[in-house]
Symmetry: C2
């Protein structure tokens, strides 16, 4: 049999797929890890308690296929009934299901560019076409341009990744009014923002919102995310969802995190304070940084000569990596290649980062 | 907007989808639960230890996207390199990825019938056609008939569900020789069987095998399964796999279970002993039961008049359910409608079952 044996048997579009490249996950203790927007703080202590309790009760039985308790709690949190909620094995699971429902051969999905780099991968997996609507450097939402795309599904990451810029609810609602398909607002970072689109759900039926426990709740290791939207949409996503997509421990862990509002608010407040401090740090260096409503900063470094650009960003990225500080670099597009995306870490991590940047600026 | 708003936007095949119906998962303490082939015994105590350790280390960071340690351990267990292994969020995740790679519009998948009722659901989700190759009542493998189907992907559940019958390696190897596509042997129950197909992998490139931690390892609540097969196949499945499909706790829990061979062997031996005891119990009642190499029994009940058939199976199913004993009933096909599938429970559970069956036989 030839080396292409399996590729030749695979569906034509699968032969050409490129897998998504997640941010590096090195052995953590040796690295300052500011590359995948994880929370620098541990999750609520109640998570560990809830999971330990569930461990005692046993793992031999299948989980609740509908994550019922978590659906109810998420619904309540957003002032919605449980049938407005679907729980995913991370919000990536939800994004994948939405794409499989509304996008395939001959049926495109659309997204702004740049945004979450997983969308085009999931669309390609579904044999669909991805329509990228490019931002200008001002990162303003072009509602008219978006509304005109020929797609039934439109992703809007708000606040946006990798820029950190949030879009006002007013513009999102205008988009829902003029776009005839499903508008998915991916709010992975909304807990760090001024406002969010969940309040628009009841009066914009074609709007839905995805959320994750990976960032603001500090539970990236647990893989839980959710979709809130019209029950008619939830029902369709449930058709395609794996019956047991969320395991027992993740269900109880996420529920405990959701219910500890005080811990959540404290953690988010700390991260926002650190973010503003380091935004100012970059400002003082004269580095342009988009106003961030997330837990990361997208900044355009200048070298000691005051120069910016792709070569400069690349040089700083390499300098940091060599010193075991991981940040994220997106070199493949003009809008991103002169920037670095830096997750807001703990105070000591950010101090190490700042010292290393100063070193770089002082080096030959 | 109309009530069909989302359905009209969805892909045409999605409009017609019916979701998979998992076995009921009631509040367990009140029920004797013999309907979803869970393990009556808890997992190895090392699982709880490993998960507790991981909880201490923290959940704030993303899991290893490739489940590297688990891939290596699974490979070693089967005498294979790690690149022969892919880990899934349950083996359902793996089955779904295989179907998405090899089956879609105009490209069918095949399976024996009856077998795992999830396959046709996953195939419909992928907009593919499902070719069912029906068994006769003798449940013998018709290799020639299977080899002739026009599909690139063929599922063989061995030991079979819901019958419990295992297929000899000799026949499986013959099937691999004559079928030109990918042969997936779904070995969810192979740990309870006399032999398994993993020993055939190295000399049959088109063969791959799926396994789960949900049955023999008692970890249905954790959602971990895997695929072993040629690295060329693994690479394709990885293209479609969600980067972070298996969470941190599931990775370390499954690894701990896999490494506790002594506990595993004891548990499996106990279940097999109970199985044989209750197979004899059904034999003594004159109920036909397929020879099971799994952790369940597929038996054809007779009522007090010695009659069997759909009405009799249905009557016993309802009698048991009313008394809070859950078993699985598949009424929709002649080959299954006169049978009940009964998971092998603990000794006390099986005693309760037997007493209730005796009650039924003695009732008017």
């Amino acid at each position: 049999m030839s080396d292409d044996f399996f590729l030749n048997l695979a569906l034509p579009h699968v032969r050409k797929l490129q897998p998504y490249t997640p941010g590096l996950q090195p052995k953590v203790q040796e690295w300052v890890k500011l590359n995948t927007n994880e929370n620098p703080y541990p999750p609520s202590p109640r998570v560990q308690e809830a999971i330990s309790r569930e461990l005692g009760a046993g793992l031999r039985l299948y989980p609740d296929p509908r994550s019922t308790a978590l659906r109810e709690a998420v619904g309540k949190y957003h002032g919605l009934e449980a049938d407005w909620v679907c729980i995913g094995n991370g919000s990536d699971d939800i994004l994948n299901l939405l794409i499989r429902a509304f996008c395939g051969k001959g049926q495109a999905a659309a997204a702004t560019f740049p945004s979450y780099s997983l969308y085009p991968v999931l669309v390609a997996n579904a044999n669909g076409e991805m329509i990228n609507v490019e931002f200008g450097r001002d990162m303003r939402l072009d509602v008219e341009k978006l509304a005109a795309v020929d797609a039934n599904l439109l992703f809007l990451t708000s606040p946006n990744a990798p820029t950190g810029v949030a879009f006002p609810n007013e513009e999102i609602e205008e988009l829902c009014r003029v776009f005839p398909g499903v508008v998915v607002v991916d709010e992975a970072y909304a807990d760090f923002a001024e406002e969010n689109a969940t309040v628009l759900l009841k009066r914009n039926r074609n709007l839905c919102v995805t959320r994750t426990f990976s960032k603001s709740y500090g539970l990236a290791g647990l893989r839980v995310g959710y979709l809130v939207g019209d029950p008619g949409l939830i029902e369709i996503v449930d058709r395609l969802r794996d019956s047991y997509n969320v395991n027992r421990l993740s269900q109880v862990g996420a529920l405990a995190a959701l219910n500890d509002r005080e811990y959540f608010q404290e953690t988010v407040a700390k991260i926002k304070a650190t973010r503003e401090k380091y935004r100012q740090y970059f400002d003082e260096k004269g580095w342009f940084t988009y106003p961030s409503q997330t837990n990361f900063l997208f900044t355009e470094p200048r070298n000691r000569e005051g120069k910016k650009g792709k070569a400069v960003a690349q040089a700083l990225y390499e300098f940091l990596t060599e010193r075991r500080i991981l940040v994220r670099y997106f070199p493949s597009h003009d809008l991103t290649s002169s920037f670095l995306r830096i997750s807001v870490g703990s105070q000591p991590e950010m101090l190490t980062l700042a010292k290393t940047i100063d070193q770089w600026l002082n080096s030959a």
